[in-house]
Structures are given as structure tokens and as C-alpha cells.
Amino acid sequence: MEKIGIVSYGAYVPRNRIKAEVIASVWGKDGQAISRGLGVIEKSVPSIDEDTATISVESARAALRRCNINPQDIGAIYVGSESHPYAVKPTGTIVGEAIRATPMLMVADYEFACKAGTAAIQTCVGFVKAGMIDYGFAIGADTSQAAPGDALEYTASAGGAAFLIGKTKVIATINHTLSYTTDTPDFWRRAEMKYPSHGGRFTGEPAYFKHITNCATALLEKAKTHPEDYTYAIFHQPNGKFPVNVAKKLGFTPEQIKQGLLVPYIGNTYSGASMIGLASVLDVAKPGDRIFLTSYGSGAGSDGFDITVTDEIASLARHKAPTVAELVERKKYIDYGTYSKITKLLFME
């Protein structure tokens, strides 16, 4: 059977960081307790000149540096985000031009809260499988917004990852993928609003846990596998607690999720979150490793992926772009004043 999957990958995380404790102190809260409660030490903050388009371009360019693919052979680019720079005008065209993949190219922007990027992977897998394209880029990136003082302010961060999907020189085969979707209003943002609204406690059990658990269980059934068959598991990570709890509930160990759990150090990168986790796993993966990924997007749905790393990963020039660990380490701390200046300017109405 033809192997379809990931041919290359790249990630990007802006350099600025702000500690959860620093945000807490501004609002007169106990920073250490909040940090511990959320499982988030610090989060990434974009620079004034960074947005979802620049993060997408940097991720895609990192993926192209690692492989020898002619960008003109890329037949599709799908960018998933909830912070596309324009309300009308695609981010994908900017990426297409910046990686010289235009003009014979299918492009569209996706939106599905934090799982728009993994939905883009599924689209590309389908097109490659149908023989309509040789390669497709699936990108998930965000510069997510939170109202000052809102609980989300401790986690809403910025970052992204890009996956080149194809059927030649596949470094990680996507064996199975499926989704679990319902209409659940746990988190939303109306078109004219600057910051999102959320359903408070409603966001946990009937939303994140229900969708991830049902999706993951269906995937294990379809793949005829068990949690212990996987080397690594990645779950959407809106904070440091949810993915740990859902993994435990499903029977995955802390060792399996460690490599793909970045939220304590960079926060919740929304559409980038599970994808940066996957990039981090691919940074260290060896042939034969099996990877389990379940994303989550409010609204709500989960995309599940059963992935097997191939021998080709040894030939990919992984060193030609920074690893996720290196991106996490490249940081500059900012104070709340700088942070609020940046976020105010970024999300100007």
C-alpha cells in the first residue's frame, strides 16, 4: 500500500516570553498558585512585527530547508488559525508567494479554533491520496488573544508549525485519521469582537475531555492499537493540566506525552499547539516509533492521527532548521508594560 504522510516539518515560536507570575502580580493574584494550577510557567508573545502570516512563513520555510522539494511541486497550502491577519484576504496566498509555490496552487484558510491546523493535514492527506497533488502544506499558527485580566491571559500565546504532506520520501506515515465533531458552544469570538468569550467551567468536561476521549478511543479502535503501542502521544494543550489528565484517563503514561508537551514553556499556541508538539516529537523520533495525536478545537471537535515514523527520517536534514527545544530556549523576557503595548498594538480595532 502507498505510504502517505509527513515529508518534512518546521516550527516557529516568537522569542518574547512573559511569566505567568508577572501577569498574576499585575492583577493582585497569587502567581505561584496560578502557575501551578494551570501548569504554565511562561508563554510566548509575538513581536510587534509578527503575526499568523509571518509565523506560517517561517514554519514553512523551516520545513523546506530540511528537504529537497521544489516549491513549485507543492499543489496546496492550507493555513489553520483563529488569528488570520485579515478577516477577508487569505493568509495562504502570502505563504504561497513567500515560499515561491505560486501560482499553480490550491489555497484556502481554515478556521476551527485550535484544530484548524490538523484539519489542514487531513485535507492534504486526502488530496495526495486522490492523486490531485504531489505535495500539500498544512500549517497551524496563531497569535491568540485574551482580554486583560481574563483567565486565558496566562496561556494565550503565539507559535506555529508546518507539515509538508506527500507520498515520496515520507518520514512519518499517517496510518489512520478520523474526527469527532459536535456543536458545542464552549468558546467563541464574534466577528466584530477583539477578544473571545468562553463558557467558563463548561470548557472542560463536555468540551475538551469529551471530544478528545471519544476521538482517541475511536482511533485506537480503528487502528486496532492500544496506548502502550505508542512511543509518543500528543494532545491539545490549552494548559498544562488538561493534556496530562486526558492522557492518564486514556491510559497513556507521562513518559509518552513529555516530548510533545510544550505548553508549560510557551503557553497555548492554539492552532499551533498540538502541531508544535508533533514537531517536537519528530525532532527526536527514530524509525519505527509510533505517534498518537489528538487535537481539539472549540466549537467543537477533535482530529486523531495514528502515525508511524519511517526509515526516511534518517535522510531528512533535521539539523537545517531549529528544533522546537531550541526555539523554546531562544527567549527574551518582557515585563507587563511591554506585553500590553505589544498586544494592544497587535489587536488594535
Binding site: R15, S47, I48, D49, E50, D51, A53, T54, V57, E58, R61, P85, Y86, I94, E97, A98, R100, P322, K332, K341, L345, M348, E349
Partner: protein, 139 residues
């Protein structure tokens, strides 16, 4: 404003991907691209070939901007450098993700994709190159 959008659109190959050109008579590289080679003049007519540059280069000189133009005033202080690209041309570019004190003459730099400016809150957003200290440069 409309004029700005049209001009920017025409310059996208240069701003996004360093599309320059080379004189096939003397092999000099130009960025931005030129109609004719100023050294070979008529000899170069019709012999200018498009070439994408790497976006890698070296800081020749720099200054730190403390009072920026309108679109940049929120970024001050920030370094702007004259950069000699590896292929030869010299260009001016902003250096980002780097403390002004850390910029050095001779520092290796590489391009990064950033937002350059925007026409207010409702206008177009212009993207293009800025520079970072090279990942492989320890200087």
C-alpha cells in the same frame, strides 16, 4: 494609499524572496534588480538574468533609531544596518530579535519574514524582509 498597495504588490518578489538580477556580461549581482548593468551599459541590454539571493549577509555599518517614523515609533530603539549580502549588493535593513547593544560590525545576519508596515487599522498589511543575527554566528 491605493498607489502604495500597487507599488508594494509590484515589489513582492523582492520584498519576500530577494529577487535580484545578474549581468551576464560581468557577473555583477544587483538588488533590487536593474534594467541594465551600470558598468556594462549597452553590452548588458537583454542580458540581465533574474536571480534569487540567499538573504544572508554581513553588517557593514549600523545605527540605532531612537526617534522612528510614524509606523515604527512603537519599536524604538531599534537597529537599522547596511548589510552586504553574500552575493554582493548592499541594502538597508532593520535588525530584529537583537538588543541594539549586541549589533556588531561584521556580524553575520540572515533574513526573516516580518510585517513591515500597515495602512492604519483598515488598510493593507505589508510584509517583507528584516534581519536576524545568523543562527550559526557566535560573534
Amino acid at each position: 494609499m491605493k498607489e502604495g498597495v500597487a507599488r508594494f504588490w509590484r515589489e513582492i518578489p523582492q520584498r519576500y524572496n530577494f529577487l535580484g538580477n545578474v549581468c551576464s556580461s560581468c557577473d555583477r549581482v544587483f538588488f533590487p534588480p536593474r534594467e541594465a548593468c551600470p558598468f556594462c551599459r549597452r553590452k548588458s541590454m537583454g542580458k540581465m538574468k533574474e536571480q534569487y539571493l540567499s538573504g544572508h549577509g554581513e553588517v557593514i555599518s549600523y545605527t540605532v533609531i531612537h526617534v522612528g517614523p510614524e509606523d515604527f515609533e512603537e519599536q524604538v530603539p531599534y537597529p537599522v544596518a547596511i548589510i552586504q549580502l553574500d552575493e554582493g549588493p548592499r541594502i538597508t535593513g532593520q535588525i530584529v530579535d537583537c538588543d541594539p547593544d549586541d549589533v556588531k560590525i561584521g556580524m553575520k545576519v540572515e533574513s526573516t519574514f516580518r510585517k513591515i508596515q500597515q495602512d492604519g487599522c483598515s488598510g493593507a498589511i505589508y510584509y517583507g524582509y528584516k534581519f536576524l543575527k545568523s543562527h550559526n554566528s557566535n560573534k
